[in-house]
C-alpha cells in the first residue's frame, strides 16, 4: 500500500512516499510564494523519483504552515502530531522532541506509546524560530546551510541577547563593523537561538531520549548549543534527513488510517 505526506513550510516544502512502512522516496524543495505551487512541485518531484503517479497513492496527508492550501491532500494533521509520529517511528525511545521551524519552534513530549502528552510553541517571539537564522544568514551573507559548520570554528565567545530579531540583526551588523570574526558571530547566534528553545523544552520537564527534528537540526552549531542548553544528550534522527520528518509522520499517519 502506498501513502504520502506533504509538509509545506514557510521556507521549504517536503514530500515523502511510503510503501507500507518503508520510505520509497522523499523530496525537499525551497518554498514558492504560493503554497499550492510548492505542494505540487515537491509532490511531482517525489512521484517522479518513485516513478509513480498521484493516483497510485492511496492516501496523502498534508501538514505544515501551508497545509490548508495543499490541493491533493485528503486530510491535514498538525505539525505536532506529524513530527511526533515521525520521530517515534524512527526512535521508539524518544520521549521529548524539539523541532525548530521557520515560523515557530516546538517542544513535544511523548509517552511510551508515542502519544503526545504535552507540547509547547515558542513564546511570542520570533527570536526562537528558524526565521531568526534566515535573517541572520542574510545579514552575514552566509549560506544558511553552511552556518553550522562555519560557526564551529569560533574562537571568541560573544553573546547576542537582543529580544527583537531585527535589533539582533543590528547587533550583528555592529559586530561586523567591530570586525568580529564571522565564526564567532555565528556561534553567538546559535547559542542565542538554542537558549530560547532550551527554556521552552525545560518548561515541559525534559525526559530522555531527547531528539531534534526539522531542517535546523542539520545545523551542528545549533544542535550542539541546544544539547548544552538542555544539559542532556540530544539525539539526531537515525538514517533519515531530519528535515523530512514532518512529511514522514504525515505519510505514516496516512498509513495508520488506511490499515
Amino acid at each position: 500500500m502506498l501513502t504520502a505526506g506533504c509538509d509545506v513550510g514557510s521556507r521549504t516544502a517536503k514530500a515523502v512516499i511510503l510503501k507500507n512502512d518503508t520510505i520509497l522516496t522523499d523530496a525537499v524543495i525551497s518554498a514558492r510564494l504560493d503554497p499550492i505551487e510548492s505542494a505540487e512541485n515537491v509532490m511531482d518531484m517525489a512521484l517522479e523519483q518513485a516513478g509513480l503517479a498521484l493516483e497510485d497513492i492511496q492516501k496523502i496527508i498534508g501538514t505544515g504552515y501551508g497545509q490548508q492550501q495543499i490541493p491533493f491532500a485528503h486530510t491535514c494533521e498538525s505539525e505536532i502530531v506529524c513530527h511526533a509520529r515521525g520521530a517515534f517511528w524512527n526512535m521508539p525511545t524518544a520521549r521529548t522532541i524539539v523541532d525548530i521551524g521557520g515560523q515557530d519552534s516546538k517542544a513535544i513530549k511523548l509517552d511510551a506509546d508515542g502519544r503526545v502528552i504535552r507540547y509547547s510553541y515558542n513564546d511570542k517571539c520570533a527570536a526562537g524560530t528558524g526565521r531568526f537564522l534566515e535573517i541572520m544568514a542574510d545579514a552575514l551573507q552566509v549560506d544558511l546551510d553552511e552556518m553550522g559548520a562555519c560557526g564551529q570554528t569560533y574562537q571568541e565567545e560573544i553573546s547576542i541577547s537582543n529580544q527583537c530579531v531585527i535589533f539582533a540583526e543590528t547587533e550583528v551588523v555592529s559586530l561586523i563593523n567591530e570586525e568580529k570574526d564571522v565564526a564567532d558571530i555565528l556561534n553567538a547566534l546559535h547559542c542565542s537561538l538554542s537558549n530560547r528553545v532550551a527554556s521552552q523544552v525545560r518548561s515541559l520537564l525534559i525526559e530522555e531520549d531527547v531528539v531534534m527534528t526539522g531542517g535546523v537540526a542539520k545545523n551542528v552549531g545549533v544542535f550542539d548549543a541546544l544539547a548544552q542548553g538542555l544539559g542532556v544528550e540530544l539525539k539526531p534522527l537515525e538514517g533519515i534527513d531530519p528535515q523530512i520528518n514532518g512529511a514522514l509522520g504525515a505519510a505514516l499517519i496516512a498509513a495508520d488510517g488506511t490499515n
Binding site: C125, I160, Q163, S174, N195, S199, R202
Partner: protein, 391 residues
C-alpha cells in the same frame, strides 16, 4: 578608582563575602531596598542585595517565568539556577513589584526541579504600598515577624541593643554616602559617575565596618583632588529602574558627559535619610523605610518623589536627566513619562531609554542617542538651565 569597590560592584561572590563565609558567617540575600537590612546586621548576618550581573542567557529562567516580564528577576533566577548564588543561607523576597514577588513562586519551583539551587531559607515580607497611618503600623508588625523568623532560623536573639548598634552603624554609612553626594554637588566635580556608582553599589553587598572605612577613605581622597572631571562636559543625572550595569555608566561617560548623580533603588536621597536612633528601633526602621515613598511601587505618591528628585537634580547641578527603565517595568516605565513631562516644564531636558537588565546590547544605537542628547544640551542656551538651579 578603588579596586575594592569596582570589584564589589562588578562581581557576585566578592572576597569580602568569601571571608565572611570562611569565618562561619551567614549571608542572606534580599531583592528590594524596602528590606530593613539593619536587623540582619544586628543578628550578625551579612545582608547582600541580589544582583543579576553577567547573566548572558536565560535558558533556565525562561523555563519558569513567562515571556512578558522584567529581565531583572529573571536574571536572578538564572544565576541561582546556574549555582552562582550557592553561598546564600537565605533569601528575603518582598512585593517590590508583581514580577519580583513572583520570584518566590519561581525560585521554589526551580528548587524542586534542580536540587541545591534554592537557598535553605526563604522569607517573604509584605511591604505596604503606602507610607503612613495603619500601613506604618502594619509594617512595624511585619518587621517584628521577620525578626522572630530570623531568630528562629539562625538561632540568634535580636536584642534591642544589638539593633540599636546596627542602626547606628547603618546611619553612619548613610551619612558617609550623603557626604559623597555633597561632594558631587560642588561646582568642580571631583569624582566620575563610574567611581561614585561603584562605591554606592558596593555598599549594598559589603560588610559594614569594612565598607565604612573604605568609603571614608574615598571621601578623603576626593577632597584632596584638584581636577574638575566635568570641565566642559555635561553633568547628567541617571534615574529609573534598578541598574547594576556599569557599561551603561561608562557608555555615558565615554561621551562628553559625567554622571553627577543617580536615583536607582539604592544609595541615599536626602540628608534626613537615616533611622531615628532614640526610641523604639523597630518603629524607627518602619518609619525610615517607608518615608519619602522613594519607589513608584508606593502608588499615588508621585508628587513626593518628584520634588525630592527635582531637589537633588538641582543641587547636583545636572544639565540633563537620563530616565531609564527595564523593558516590562511598568512602574518606572510610566513614572518616567511623568518625570519627563515635569522635568521639561522646569527647563531640564530628559532622555528616556528602555533597556534590558544585564549585559548592554545595542551599544551603537544607545551611544548615538546619548551623543545626540549631549549635543541637544549644548545647542540649547545653558543660561536657562543654570538659571533654574539658581532659583
Amino acid at each position: 578608582m578603588k579596586k575594592v569597590f569596582t570589584e564589589a560592584a562588578t562581581r557576585l561572590n566578592i572576597p569580602a563575602i568569601q571571608k565572611w563565609k570562611e569565618a562561619g558567617g551567614k549571608v542572606v540575600g534580599y531583592t528590594c531596598s524596602f528590606t530593613p537590612v539593619e536587623l540582619f546586621y544586628a543578628a550578625g548576618i551579612l545582608p547582600v542585595r541580589l544582583r543579576g550581573i553577567d547573566a548572558t542567557s536565560m535558558e533556565i529562567a525562561d523555563a519558569y517565568y513567562g515571556p512578558f516580564v522584567c529581565s531583572f528577576p529573571k536574571a536572578l533566577l538564572q544565576l541561582a539556577g546556574s549555582g552562582r548564588y550557592a553561598f546564600l543561607d537565605g533569601v528575603v523576597i518582598s512585593n517590590g513589584c508583581d514580577t519580583m514577588r513572583r520570584l518566590d513562586d519561581c525560585w521554589r519551583k526551580m528548587g524542586q526541579d534542580m536540587p541545591g539551587t534554592a537557598p535553605p531559607w526563604f522569607y517573604y515580607v509584605d511591604v505596604p504600598h503606602k507610607p503612613d497611618g495603619h500601613a506604618r503600623d502594619w509594617y512595624v508588625n511585619q518587621i517584628k515577624k521577620m525578626m522572630a523568623a530570623v531568630e528562629k532560623q539562625f538561632h540568634v536573639t535580636l536584642t534591642e541593643e544589638a539593633l540599636g548598634r546596627a542602626v547606628r552603624k547603618q546611619n553612619n554609612v548613610r551619612r558617609l554616602l550623603w557626604e559623597l553626594e555633597k561632594l558631587r554637588q560642588a561646582d568642580d566635580l571631583k569624582v566620575t559617575g563610574a567611581e561614585a556608582y561603584a562605591a554606592i553599589v558596593a555598599g549594598t553587598v559589603m560588610p559594614r565596618d569594612d565598607y565604612a572605612a573604605h568609603l571614608a577613605d574615598l571621601i578623603d581622597d576626593i577632597r584632596t583632588r584638584k581636577a574638575d572631571v566635568a570641565a566642559d562636559r555635561k553633568r547628567l543625572f541617571l534615574s529609573g529602574s534598578v541598574c547594576d550595569d556599569f557599561d551603561l555608566i561608562s557608555l555615558i561617560e565615554e561621551s562628553d558627559a559625567v554622571v553627577a548623580g543617580e536615583n536607582v533603588c539604592f544609595g541615599v536621597r536626602t540628608a534626613e535619610d537615616y533611622v531615628e536612633e532614640t526610641g523604639d528601633p523597630v518603629a524607627a526602621l518602619a518609619a525610615r523605610y517607608l518615608s519619602g515613598s522613594v519607589c513608584p511601587r508606593m502608588l499615588g505618591w508621585y508628587r513626593e518623589r518628584a520634588s525630592m528628585h527635582m531637589q537633588r537634580i538641582k543641587h547636583l547641578k545636572a544639565d540633563g536627566v537620563i530616565l531609564q527603565n527595564i523593558r516590562f517595568c511598568d512602574l518606572h516605565g510610566s513614572e518616567n513619562g511623568l518625570f519627563e513631562r515635569d522635568l521639561e516644564k522646569n527647563g531640564l531636558p530628559a532622555l528616556r531609554i528602555e533597556r534590558e537588565y544585564g549585559p548592554l546590547v545595542d551599544r551603537g544605537r544607545l551611544k548615538m542617542r546619548v551623543d545626540a542628547f549631549i549635543e541637544q544640551l549644548t545647542s540649547q542656551k545653558k543660561s536657562t538651565l543654570r538659571g533654574n538651579h539658581a532659583t
